[in-house]
Structures are given as C-alpha cells and as structure tokens.
C-alpha cells in the first residue's frame, strides 16, 4: 500500500476517535451535571393517609421499607409539629397514640411552602421516602422523607 492510499484510512480513524471522545465527554458532562428532578413535576407512586401509613411500618418494618423506600409518595395528614432551623423547616405528622412520626425535609426551592405551614393544618405532602426505622433514642418508629413539596 502506498503512503497516498494510507491517508484516507488514517483520516477515518482520527474522525472516529474524535467522535468517541466527544461522545464520552458529553456522557461525563451529563452525569456530572445531573440534578434531582423537581418533585412537584413527578407523579406519586402512592397516595396514603399518614396514620395508616405509619401503622404499616409498625406492623412489618421490612415489608413496608421494601414497598415504599425510594418511591415518590403523597402523604395526607395533619401537621403535628414544625421544626425550624436556619436553613431548613421540617414538617412532622404523627400517630398520637404511640408517638410514631413521619418527617418531611423539603426540596430547597419548596422551602418557603414549608415555612408558611402551621401546626394543625391539613395538608398533602409529596416527597421521596428515605426509609422507616425504630429510634432507640425516642423509642418509637419513624419514617423520613426527602425532597418534599406541597402536593397540589
């Protein structure tokens, strides 16, 4: 093969390499800049009432965690407590018979919604269920939620 014949082959390989590099860079850029979706735009996998939902965790913690962990859930209930801090406002719903509770940490862009709520308000909160566990500090069951918003 002459040197003149080799040139187009080299060009083809260089072009292919460039395409692979560009595609790789695009994938890495996508993965590095990926963000969580706004929960307000996600359809809930389940819609539940706060107290029966807590009872499911009390009855079978493992089964309830398998069913609900990492799922987007809309929880209807009464606000029992609001825990304010500098950067956050967590909302709690509880089972008054045994102190078990659900705690909702709001997504940054929805924090003002949480701060506007009052104890006793009937609300529907949508968020990602982190998991349920038994607290040896409080000696009760609890379920934590992340990236929450008011379910409209």
């Amino acid at each position: 093969m002459t040197a003149l014949n080799k040139k187009p082959v080299v060009k083809k390989w260089l072009l292919a390499l460039l395409i692979v590099l560009l595609a790789g860079t695009a994938v890495i850029w996508y993965l590095f800049t990926l963000k969580h979706d706004d929960t307000a735009t996600i359809k809930a996998d389940f819609t539940v009432e706060a107290v029966p939902f807590l009872k499911e965790f009390e009855t079978d913690l493992s089964m309830a965690n398998k069913k609900y962990t990492d799922k987007v859930i809309a929880v209807n209930g009464t606000i029992a407590e609001i825990e304010m801090a500098d950067t956050t406002a967590n909302i709690k719903m509880s089972d008054t018979t045994n102190g078990a509770y659900i705690i909702f940490a709001f997504q940054q862009q929805h924090l003002p919604e949480a701060k506007a709520l009052k104890v006793g308000d009937e609300v529907s909160i949508k968020g990602v269920c982190s998991n349920g566990a038994f607290s040896s500090i409080l000696e009760t069951n609890y379920v934590t939620f992340n990236r929450c918003t008011i379910n409209k």
């Binding site: 956050t88 940490a105 982190s130 040896s136 934590t144 990236r147």
Partner: protein
C-alpha cells in the same frame, strides 16, 4: 382519706417536676453534613436534615441516629453510589448512630447564655462497624435553646468502606463530618 389525698398530690407534683426539669433534650431535625470531595471530584457531598439527636444536660450523654438514605446529594448518580454496595450499602446497614458524652461537662452552664468549647467522646457505628471517636464541639446556650455543633474527620477504611471510587481517589479517604443540633 386526707393522707391519701396528700400522697396523690405528692406523686403528681413529683411527676410534674420531672417533666418541667427534664434533662434529656431531643430533636428530630439535627443536621449531619458529609464532605468527601477531592480535587478529582466535587460531587461526593451530602446533607441529612432529619437526624434524631438527644442531649442529657445533667449527665452530658449525647446520641445521634441517622437514616443513611436520608443523605441527600445534589447529584442523583452520586447518591446511588453512596447507597450502593461499594460504599455505605444502605440496604444492609440502613442507619448510622453515635453514642457518647461530653467529657468536660463541668465547663458548660446550661442556665447561662454563652459559648462553651467541649470535648466529646463516644462510639460511631456505620456500615455495621463500631469505632471510638473523639472530637471537639461547641455548645451555645441562648435562652432556652441549646445549639451543639462539631466537625471532625473519619477514616472510611476504619468502617470497612473501600470501594473503587475511594481507591481511585475520587472520594476522600477521610471525609469531613459536620454535625449541628438545636435542642
């Protein structure tokens, strides 16, 4: 009958005083920050805002409980890795906890506003491994509120966390843990 009334009253007062002067303060909104960023990767950084914490102002006993899945990363892929088998394996080890106490409790006056530097020692359990930890902490008393904060490093290898990302230097081998609780 009169004696019985007095006894009932005495018991009621005793119970009531127990509530009024309760020494164990609790919160369900303590915050733990986790920063394992390196020069190669700025993504392994997360916060858990639903941590349960307790502080006994009489004995100095401190305790924290955090759901591992409650750590929220900005990047969902990083969160997936954090919970995966190569890192925290949150399915098998869903919670992390700390139990310990303030060593120099005498330095703190919980009835007087001020900032007190203290030493905390105890045991941190995560990824199924329990290790002793010691750290400096700051207690700030302002009115009825007590703010406790601490910042310390942990060695992931001490907790049997040796995933590929750690070995490749993308995740700090000694992440910074930031703890804040308002009681």
């Amino acid at each position: 009958m009169n004696k019985m009334k007095k006894t009932v009253l005495f018991v009621a007062l005793l119970v009531a005083s127990g509530y009024v002067f309760a020494q164990k303060k609790t919160t369900t909104s303590a915050i733990i920050g986790f920063d394992a960023t390196t020069s190669l990767d700025a993504l392994p950084k997360a916060e858990n805002k639903t941590v349960i914490a307790s502080l006994d102002t009489k004995t100095g006993k401190l305790a924290f409980e955090a759901s591992v899945k409650g750590f929220n990363f900005e990047n969902p892929k990083m969160q997936e890795h954090f919970n995966g088998k190569g890192w925290m394996d949150s399915e098998q080890y869903p919670t992390a906890s700390f139990t310990g106490s303030i060593i120099n409790l005498a330095k703190v006056n919980f009835t007087k506003d001020g900032t007190y530097n203290v030493e905390v020692a105890g045991y941190l359990t995560m990824h199924g491994v329990k290790q002793p930890v010691e750290s400096r902490a700051v207690i700030t008393v302002k009115g009825a509120a007590i703010n406790a904060s601490s910042k310390f490093n942990i060695k992931l290898a001490d907790y049997s966390i040796n995933g590929g990302a750690v070995a490749a230097g993308k995740v700090s081998k000694e992440p910074v843990i930031n703890v804040t609780a308002v009681f």
